[in-house]
């Protein structure tokens, strides 16, 4: 009797804790949603209403004209395609290079491997502005300036953060799997391609999401390397909407921001499936 009372008590206690956690998470999720909510409501406000103080949370009148006007005001589609082109190539480059490098670091022994890995990791500490000018001079010398090459090619040479992320994941894969594959006569590359990669979908999805989002949002890189307006990526185009010397049309800016956020949201929704799948398939401890 006493035991069941204790378990009943602890159940009740757990329920209360769960409720508190749920309430806190809902609150945090709510706070996180405020910018998206503001973006949506501002996009359907009239220009006059966007300046109103105190601001209105629910628009007084719903005006969807900004969704069309944005296309008259901005050459959105070609720049969208530019951004997609650059980001997709960066994702491919990062996935291919970082997974290969990380695999090497996690599965093979070599003299000086630790030092080399430390060197790779130490590049994370170099702030971009300090390498910006030397890098520009280098790319300028090989005549890559005003092309997408300086943005895309470095991705094919590996990204320290992604290498770290993938190395950690690859190291967690059980050694028995590799032994079994080798006994079955699997080549080293085939082990990587047929066994490691399918098992690492979760980590690869994270890498894809991170590298896509970083390249999709990147403003400084395209600003520095691109000079022809027709080559500009979306963030450069959108940054041009803000001027200290003009009254901004917030509704148009919010619509543009919504369109710009769309691929990231879609990618996340799409890759979420792989996150779950990744967790299931990597449960091979059994």
């Amino acid at each position: 009797m006493e035991t069941s009372a204790v378990s009943y008590g602890s159940k009740k206690k757990r329920r209360i804790v769960d409720a508190i956690v749920l309430a806190m998470l809902t609150l945090v999720a709510g706070i996180m949603c405020v910018p998206i909510f503001t973006m949506l409501t501002t996009s359907v406000k009239t220009t006059g209403e966007t300046f109103q103080y105190p601001p209105t949370f629910i628009p007084q009148t719903f005006d969807f004209s900004a969704y069309v006007r944005v296309f008259q005001k901005l050459d959105l589609v070609p720049h969208y395609l530019n951004s997609l082109f650059v980001s997709i190539l960066i994702v491919i480059g990062t996935l291919v290079s970082s997974s290969l490098i990380a695999y090497g670091f996690s599965r093979y022994r070599a003299p000086g491997k630790k030092v080399l890995f430390m060197l790779v990791m130490s590049t994370l500490m170099i702030p971009y502005p300090s390498v910006m000018i030397p890098q520009y001079i280098l790319f300028n010398k090989i005549r890559w300036v005003d092309t997408y090459l300086p943005l895309v090619v470095p991705a094919f040479l590996g990204s320290a953060y992604m290498i770290f992320l993938l190395k950690q994941f690859f190291s967690s894969i059980s050694n028995e799997l590799f032994d079994a594959a080798r006994i079955d006569g699997c080549s080293e590359f085939k082990i990587f391609y047929r066994i490691v990669l399918p098992l690492s979908k979760a980590a690869l999805a994270s890498v894809a999401i991170f590298s896509f989002m970083w390249s999709w949002d990147d403003l400084l890189g395209p600003v520095i390397y691109l000079s022809s307006p027709e080559k500009y990526t979306l963030p450069v185009l959108l940054a041009g909407l803000v001027s200290k010397f003009r009254i901004p049309e917030w509704n148009i800016m919010m619509v543009a921001a919504l369109y710009a956020a769309l691929p990231c949201i879609l990618l996340f929704i799409f890759c979420q499936r792989y996150f779950v799948e990744g967790i299931v398939t990597s449960g091979i401890k059994g």
């Binding site: 220009t47 006059g48 300046f51 109103q52 103080y53 105190p54 601001p55 082109f85 190539l89 491919i92 502005p129 910006m132 000018i133 520009y136 001079i137 300028n140 005549r143 890559w144 300036v145 092309t147 997408y148 090459l149 895309v152 090619v153 391609y193 047929r194 403003l219 400084l220 600003v223 520095i224 000079s227 307006p229 080559k231 450069v236 940054a239 041009g240 909407l241 803000v242 001027s243 200290k244 010397f245 003009r246 009254i247 901004p248 917030w250």
Partner: protein
């Protein structure tokens, strides 16, 4: 699996070929006219108010078929980074202007600019004939040499909400700069009558944003100069006057507008009204009078309330009434086509193009007084005579924005904005804050001025 790999390889190769073809797409030179065609580059802000440069370039090329103008449009916040990168790599644009924090003195002190005097002499260009006022021209001159030709001059203006004035039964402020009865104290009194309502739903009498966002300039209106300039090298200041009573009382006076007089919104309320743009609080319709840069005129037509423009009242010095924001266009020292670049600037400074610029830019002010007639009639909602009074008075009694007249203005500005925040937020008194800030500012000035490093 092989098929899959082949597919992946094919995809990568296609992408590489695509990229390569983009890389190979360089400039072609048109030599149809017989003379060698030249392409000059102008680096400009990628913002709606500067979008007219493409048209200017086309108009110029129509007259000079062998000179093509290429516009490098860069977002406002990244302008200085890109410019410095281009200059450091020997890829400087032929023409630029000051856009972000770096101003004329930064360019000059870093030896980035070409002395235009010989080109001016050779071409017979006379800035006085072109209608550019002497004090505006001085903003791009050093030691008698001319480094830039101004193409835009914004004055600051006092804009007011007529609806609030009408509701309070208060007479509109005067637009005539020669009206000596229009003083700072009178404006504050007027603002008190216009302030009404409770916090959260309050109408404020005044938004005092005299210097734009250049706090080092603010004390000038109240009779004190912030800097003791280096006489040997006037691009730099030797020390600041932050600890003097004049400067301290100026900052206190401005903070008191919100926290003692209660007639101005606090920075937090301004932020709530404005979002990130400095000129916006007035647009909320909750501010009766606002002192702002002239660019605010551009949006007045679209507001749901009636507006007017007036003179900025007389402060401590009757000759320092407003701030001028002049945009001179410079030819960079590394320009490969300085003659053609100067020719383009000269072209843009002409009356015809200055008038065209007002229309194409949707209301940027010209630097040439010859084009002001077009400017006065551009803003439908603003009384023409009032605007003429305000601009003419503003040009006569204006002082150039300090950001353009001292090297290292960006760093100075950031320091002051951060350090003076407690005064502006009403959490500290200027007398307590300013002495310490003075030491920090002096340290920045000494770090910037090369004469201290000798």
């Amino acid at each position: 699996m092989r098929k899959e790999m082949k597919k992946a390889m094919a995809l990568l190769l296609t992408a590489a070929i695509g990229l390569g073809s983009v890389a190979c797409g360089g400039k072609t030179r048109d030599t149809a006219s017989g003379e060698e065609a030249v392409t000059i580059t102008i680096m400009q802000a990628n913002s709606p108010d500067k979008a007219y440069f493409d048209k200017m370039g086309d108009a110029f090329t129509a007259k000079h078929p062998n000179i093509k103008v290429e516009v490098i449009a860069v977002p406002y916040d990244n302008f200085d980074s890109k410019l410095q990168t281009l200059v450091a790599s020997g890829n400087a644009p032929d023409i630029t202007t000051h856009v972000q924090a770096m101003g004329f003195m930064d360019f000059y002190s870093k030896d980035m600019l070409l002395d235009l005097s010989p080109y001016i002499a050779e071409s017979g260009f006379d800035y006085k004939e072109a209608g550019i006022p002497e004090n505006v021209m001085e903003s791009s001159m050093m030691d008698g040499k001319i480094y830039g030709i101004p193409l835009n001059t914004f004055t600051s203006v006092l804009v007011y909400n007529k609806d609030i004035f009408d509701a309070a039964g208060v007479e509109y402020p005067p637009s005539d700069y020669e009206d000596k009865s229009w003083t700072y104290d009178k404006m504050v009194e007027m603002a008190k009558k216009l302030t009404s309502g409770e916090e959260g739903n309050k109408t404020y009498g005044l938004l005092w944003n005299w210097s734009g966002t250049t706090p080092a300039q603010d004390p000038q209106y109240f009779g004190s100069n912030m800097f003791n300039m280096d006489e040997e090298n006037p691009a730099y200041a030797k020390s600041c006057n932050m600890k003097t009573t004049g400067v301290i009382s100026a900052y206190q006076k401005m903070a008191d507008l919100a926290f003692v007089e209660g007639i101005s919104p606090s920075p937090a309320i301004q932020q709530a009204m404005a979002g990130t743009n400095d000129s916006e609080p007035f647009l909320s319709g909750r501010i009766a009078m606002a002192i702002e840069g002239g660019w605010i005129l551009n949006g007045l037509n679209e507001l749901p309330f009636k507006t007017g423009v007036a003179a900025i009242p007389i402060g401590a010095d009757e000759n320092v009434r407003d701030v001028l924001y002049t945009d001179p266009y410079f030819v960079m020292k590394d320009s490969k086509h300085p003659k053609e670049a100067f020719e383009f600037i000269k072209f843009m400074a002409g009356k015809e193009m200055q008038e065209q610029m007002i229309k194409d830019s949707e209301g940027n002010p010209p630097a040439s007084t010859l084009a002001l007639g077009t400017y006065y009639t551009y803003f439908e909602g603003v009384d023409r005579q009032d605007l003429e009074n305000v601009i003419e008075g503003g040009l006569k009694y204006g002082v150039e924005n300090i950001g353009h007249t001292i090297a290292g203005a960006g760093e100075i500005n950031n320091l002051l904005i951060n350090e003076l925040a407690n005064i502006n937020n009403g959490t500290a008194q200027a007398a307590d804050v300013c002495p310490e800030v003075g030491d920090k500012l002096d340290a920045v000035l000494q770090k910037t001025d090369p004469s201290f490093q000798k």
